[in-house]
Structure formats: structure tokens, C-alpha cells
């Protein structure tokens, strides 16, 4: 019974692995993405100044409530800052002139499959971990030009060179 269920789950995942990229190819605009099955990984809580979200050349302006997607590049301007909440309850804040790419977000706690990683390119960030680090202590990391940050359930700030 259990084996049959896990077989079904893996078939289900395989089907989804095929369908999702096809959908992405067929409907590459952000409007289409947000209109379909909700693939958002989080949302914007608060924006000061101006913050841009971009992906595949599409640029969106961030406001409170704007959905965040995997692979989004988040950029603040010289007076901008932004607060974001992810599906697992982890939070990310960016200071002025900051730039970060949301490289990985997997949150399927029922199956024990989780992961979250960022590529911090510029500026200042504050991260507070959520449920993902509770499921897997080593599932979160931030890659930067100066070092890789591995996170075990915590709250920290990272600032790169000005």
C-alpha cells in the first residue's frame, strides 16, 4: 500500500516535472504565471523607495502584496528597501542599492523535501529562517562573491562591499 502510494507520488512528481517547464515555455509572461496554478514562493510585505523584480527580461515593480517567484532577481534603488516573506515563513529584507537572486526554493515538508538558496550580488540583506531549516538543518545557504553562508535556524545580516 505504502509502496504503491510512493510510486504514485513519484509518478506525480515526474508528470509535474514535465508539465511545469512546458507551461513556463508556453506562458513566459509574469501575468500568465500569476494567473495559473499558484507557483509563487512568497510575497512582498513592505517597500520603501523603489524595488524591481525581474526574470527573463520581464521587469515588475514591487508593492506590498506582490507575489515573488523562483529565479526572481530583486533589486532596490539608492533609497529603496524591501521586506519579503517566503512560503515557509522565512523572511528576507534588503537595504539600499541591493541585488539578490532567488536561486532555489523547495518546500514540500510532507515529503521532507526542502531547500532555499540565494545569490547575493550587492548591498545589504537581513534573513530570518522559517520552517525549512526546521525540516533540514543544512538546507539554506547564501552564495556571495566573498563567501558562502550556511545557515542553521537563525537571523543574520550580510553586507557586501559598497
Amino acid at each position: 500500500m505504502r509502496e504503491r502510494l510512493s510510486l504514485w507520488l513519484s509518478v506525480h512528481k515526474t508528470i509535474r516535472a514535465i508539465i511545469v517547464p512546458v507551461l513556463l515555455v508556453l506562458a513566459p509572461t509574469s501575468e500568465a504565471l500569476s494567473a495559473g496554478t499558484d507557483t509563487a514562493i512568497g510575497f512582498v510585505k513592505e517597500v520603501v523607495g523603489h524595488t524591481t523584480l525581474s526574470q527573463n527580461g520581464e521587469r515588475r515593480s514591487a508593492a506590498a502584496g506582490t507575489k515573488i517567484y523562483l529565479n526572481d532577481m530583486v533589486e532596490t534603488d539608492s533609497v529603496g528597501s524591501v521586506g519579503i516573506v517566503f512560503d515557509d515563513g522565512s523572511t528576507l529584507s534588503l537595504g539600499n542599492d541591493s541585488k539578490i537572486k532567488l536561486d532555489e526554493f523547495v518546500y514540500e515538508p510532507a515529503d521532507g523535501i526542502v531547500g532555499q538558496s540565494f545569490q547575493m550580488l550587492q548591498g545589504m540583506m537581513l534573513y530570518v529562517s522559517g520552517q525549512i531549516t526546521k525540516v533540514d538543518h543544512e538546507a539554506v545557504r547564501v552564495n556571495t562573491p566573498v563567501a558562502t553562508i550556511g545557515i542553521r535556524g537563525t537571523r543574520f545580516i550580510l553586507r557586501l562591499d559598497d
Partner: protein
């Protein structure tokens, strides 16, 4: 008197110069902060030149200017940190609020009067606007696995219904079901464990 005021202004100038200098030469840094509940976690800072563990509240890791290696953590002043990093701290989202409901065995009926918890969830939701609520149902390991997956969904939907009745918009709520996969207390299969019969609500 005059002497004192010159000294005061010189001192002020020196402070200004020092802070300008600091602002111009902001170097890469990692700072560990206590979480809202006071917990202090751990981060590792690693590159080709070395690795350092950061595990003290307001501990700071900087980098060697020549080798680029992360330096051992040093203690920093919490007020200085609050000032230097105000830009990110000012837009830090409120920590998510977490609630839990208990259930009768093999049932989607909540145990006891949950009115005050439901009201607290609505308040937490309003405090965090824009906000979203995750509702996650769980069971113990009595009964078949597939049956439990459905039972925990019914439990989560029972909570969703109560919140909808309190005017929480349906599209602000995300319902999911973990069945017996994520117990609080680990047991063998077939064991009834009241603490695992629950719905967890996270207000983000």
C-alpha cells in the same frame, strides 16, 4: 568656556569624519542577531581561504583584507548594529505567528473551545497586512496512511471554515495535509497519539 566649545566642535568634526570614513569604506561583514524569541542560531562563513562559525548574539565576522579569509567572530555593540543596519531592520517583516489546534480521535472536530485561538489568528492576520495564512493538517498513525492523509485535510478544512466565518478571505488561506508524515511525537505505525492529531496555523 570658548576653549571648551572649540574642543566640542573639534570633537564633533572628528566624529563626523570618522563616520564618513566608515561609510565610505564599508567592508563585507556578517552579523548574527538573536531571533524574536531570543534564540541564537549558527551560521558558517566559508570561502577558499577558510571557514568560521558565528554563534554569538551580535557576533561579527569580517574578512582578512589580504587573504580574504573570514576572521574569527568578534563581539559588537547591539546599539551600533541597530544604527549601522537600520536600512534592513526597518523593513524586517514581523515574525510569523504560529498556532495549533487539537482534535478528537478519527475526527475533524476540534477539542475544546477554540474561540479565543481563532480570534487571536484573526488579530495576527490583521496586524500583518498584507498577510497569508497556512493551515496544515496532521494525524497520528492509527489507521491507514491514505485514510489519514484525507483525515488531516478534513481537519485543516474545518479550521479554514472557522476562519472564513470570521471574514478571513479564502484566497489568503493555503490549506495542506501532511497525514501522518510529520508527527510531533514519533511513534510506531498504528499507535494513537493525541499530540499528533493537530492542525498547525502559520500567519505570515
Amino acid at each position: 568656556m570658548v576653549h571648551n566649545s572649540i574642543r566640542a566642535s573639534l570633537y564633533g568634526f572628528a566624529l563626523l569624519a570618522a563616520s564618513l570614513l566608515a561609510a565610505c569604506s564599508a567592508k563585507p561583514v556578517v552579523v548574527l542577531l538573536p531571533e524574536a524569541d531570543g534564540t541564537v542560531g549558527t551560521v558558517w562563513v566559508t570561502n577558499d581561504a577558510g571557514t568560521q562559525q558565528l554563534d554569538q548574539a551580535y557576533g561579527v565576522v569580517e574578512f582578512d583584507p589580504i587573504s580574504g579569509a573570514p576572521l574569527p567572530q568578534r563581539a559588537a555593540d547591539s546599539e551600533e548594529i541597530a544604527e549601522d543596519f537600520a536600512a534592513v531592520l526597518n523593513v524586517e517583516p514581523m515574525p510569523p505567528a504560529i498556532f495549533s489546534f487539537k482534535f478528537k480521535s478519527d475526527s475533524a472536530d476540534m477539542l475544546g473551545d477554540m474561540t479565543s485561538i481563532l480570534d487571536s489568528i484573526v488579530t495576527a492576520f490583521q496586524d500583518r497586512t498584507p498577510s497569508k495564512i497556512s493551515i496544515v493538517g496532521h494525524t497520528d498513525r492509527a489507521g491507514a496512511r491514505a485514510y489519514n492523509l484525507h483525515l488531516s485535510l478534513r481537519r485543516a478544512e474545518a479550521v479554514q471554515k472557522e476562519l472564513a466565518a470570521r471574514s478571513v478571505p479564502i484566497d489568503a488561506m493555503d490549506v495542506s495535509s501532511h497525514g501522518e508524515n510529520n508527527p510531533i511525537i514519533r511513534t510506531n505505525d498504528g499507535v494513537a497519539e493525541p499530540r499528533n492529531r493537530r492542525v498547525e496555523v502559520i500567519v505570515k
